[in-house]
């Protein structure tokens, strides 16, 4: 399936991976510093019902690529290690046909359709990025790659980029392929 690359709006230093499960608080205990798979009790777990990705920037937008795969990919290559400072894989059990990446605000620009109903509603992350259901009902394995978080945190807009690969797989423990940026270090304690 094709990858989609677009800007995602960031708020409070995060964006979300969600499905039908209701929102819950999040305890940062045991957080790997990039992506958390969160259970109904708000604790990091395997096969959580929602997920959160921490960004370097507190707010703004970053370039995100999401690709939903038919089969598991190879482990990250040397080139991937070169390009991304953080690569972490977690399992998520997200229900619903619209499960996937969502921004925190998930609403953009006041909009009322005109009398003919012609005006297009604004597109949010849900409209733009492919839904995980393209790989089936789940559970999903999600590999998140990030680069430029530190520079972004220090004010370099445009530095931060993320890549997410998604495929269907049984629930497993998280795999940290690479964890080298300062953002991650400060979140792992």
């Amino acid at each position: 399936m094709a990858a989609v690359t677009a800007q995602i709006e960031i708020d409070h230093g995060q964006y979300l991976l969600e499905g039908d499960a209701g929102p819950v608080d999040f305890s940062f205990t045991g957080f790997n510093g990039l992506v958390a798979s969160v259970g109904p009790d708000g604790q990091v777990t395997d096969g959580g019902v929602w997920g959160v990705v921490s960004t370097g920037m507190r707010s703004g937008s970053l370039k995100l690529t999401v690709q939903v795969l038919d089969a598991p990919p190879l482990p990250p290559s040397a080139a991937d290690h070169e390009r991304y400072s953080e690569i972490v894989e977690v399992s998520l059990a997200l229900d619903g046909r619209a499960a996937g990446v969502f921004s925190l605000p998930e609403e953009t620009n006041p909009w009322e359709p005109d009398e003919d109903g012609d005006q297009e509603p604004p597109r949010t992350a849900r409209d733009v990025f492919p839904r995980f259901s393209g790989a089936g009902p789940g559970p999903y394995r999600v590999r998140v790659h990030a680069r430029g978080r530190d520079a972004s945190r220090d004010g370099d807009t445009g530095a931060e980029e993320h890549l997410i690969l998604v495929w269907a797989a049984p629930i497993g423990t998280e795999t940290v392929f690479r964890a080298t940026d300062q953002c991650g270090a400060s979140l792992r304690h």
Binding site: H12, G22, G96, P105, E112
Partner: protein, 400 residues
């Protein structure tokens, strides 16, 4: 003397009354008859009286047209304050109001007790007059409690009314009540059913009516729309010329398919937007709540604080450009940052009171631990989702 039925009044009287704008039923609103009563379920617009001031004006015309010497006409009016107070002390009133949010001063319109509930206690009476002499020949006192229930995860909403006769005198025996209601063409709703059949009013009985409405917004279409149930209680007595009626129109219910779509299991839903909810989720964040309390205390507008002389709520904006401008004004990324801390701002960037649109000290910023800030983002969003906060909605923040 035999009292004639409703169909008897002379054509002249009907023509005069026909100039009224009476939102009473047409054939489409026919309600089922309880127990096969022989009263007509539909009432022509011409025979209804909107209120007692109208009746007083029409008495001379009715008198001229009346075939009988003793024609009676009725109208519905709010009880005066002393009467209402006395009525609230009756056992019937205590039973109907019981405990709860509806046990408030009556006749003040819809009272919003939460984002999804409203009630409207009313203390009213029906005046019965001799059409020829204008003399008051009877009064029926009743208490009416209306309720609206909207759910944040459903596009259907409900309205109910409970009525109890609490007293009266004179020519009121045999009075019945029934209800009609529909969404108007401008309302984004449709009536699924009306269940308020004609029923006798009497001490010891409670008269019940209910309506179920569904929003007509596109369930998947990023739409928002308001609607009201234009409801009426109709009071009928075979001894009266025409009927008396009372407007029970609901408060406005707003439904949307903009928030919560495809995530969190909620989907489209409805709220009562006239209720401005209070966010209390910030109390759990020590540094953030301290910052909010300070801005609410020292800022001349005390934005978001519900108490005080001239409270100013926060106003949510869905405009991404405004959010960005607020974030950049309050927390520029270039500001040197202590390790482990991120910048927190109040009022929130997602409001029209954010830093790019407000003068210091009506806004403020501070360093707070990063994980407190990240969790705050999630809590704010949960509050917005649960309350279906849309562009322009007002809310309060209680930070302890």
């Amino acid at each position: 003397m035999q009292l004639k039925r409703i169909t008897v009044p002379a054509l002249g009287a009907v023509a005069i009354l026909g100039t009224l704008l009476a939102p009473v039923s047409t054939a489409a609103d026919t309600t089922p008859q309880a127990g096969g009563a022989s009263m007509p379920a539909t009432v022509s617009a011409a025979a209804a009286v909107p209120d007692c001031t109208e009746l007083d004006k029409r008495l001379p015309a009715l008198a001229k047209a009346a075939a009988e010497d003793e024609a009676l006409a009725a109208c519905d009016a709010p009880a005066a304050e002393e009467e209402a107070a006395a009525q609230l002390r009756t056992p019937a009133a205590k039973e109907l109001l019981a405990a709860g949010p509806c046990a408030t001063a009556p006749n003040k319109g819809w009272k919003f007790t939460s984002r999804g509930r409203a009630c409207n206690p009313e203390s009213r009476l029906i005046n019965v007059r001799n059409v020829r002499t204008g003399r008051l020949v009877g009064q029926l006192y009743y208490l009416s409690v209306g309720m609206i229930v909207a759910k944040n995860d459903s596009l259907t909403w409900d309205q109910t009314v409970s009525m109890k006769k609490t007293g009266g005198w004179g020519r009121i025996a045999g009075t019945s009540v029934y209800g009609v209601g529909r969404c108007a063409s401008a309302d984004k709703c449709t009536t699924l059913f009306t269940n308020f059949p004609m029923q006798r009013m009497g001490e010891g009985r409670t008269n019940e009516g209910q309506w179920k409405m569904r929003s007509t917004i596109d369930k998947q279409g990023k739409e928002r729309g308001k609607g009201q149930n234009r409801a009426t209680a109709v009071f009928f007595n075979p001894g009266w010329v025409g009927v008396a009626q009372h407007d029970l129109t609901s408060a406005s219910v707003r439904c949307d398919s903009i928030r919560n779509m495809g995530r969190g299991g909620m989907g489209a839903g409805c709220v009562l937007p006239e209720y401005w909810p209070t966010m209390t989720e910030m109390k759990q964040f020590p540094y953030i709540s301290q910052g909010i309390r300070k801005v609410q205390r020292v800022g001349p507008h005390h934005y978001g604080r519900k108490t005080g002389a001239n409270p100013n709520p926060l106003v949510y904006t869905s405009n991404a450009g405004i959010r960005k401008a607020n974030n950049e004004a309050a927390c520029p990324a270039s500001r040197p940052r202590p390790p482990g801390q991120t910048c927190d701002e109040y009022p929130f960037a997602s409001t029209l009171q954010g830093a790019s649109r407000t003068q210091w000290p009506d806004w403020g910023w501070r360093w707070v631990p990063k994980n407190e800030n990240d969790r705050q983002g999630y809590q704010i969003r949960t509050f917005y989702d649960n309350n279906r906060i849309l562009n322009g909605d007002r809310f309060w923040v209680d930070a302890g």
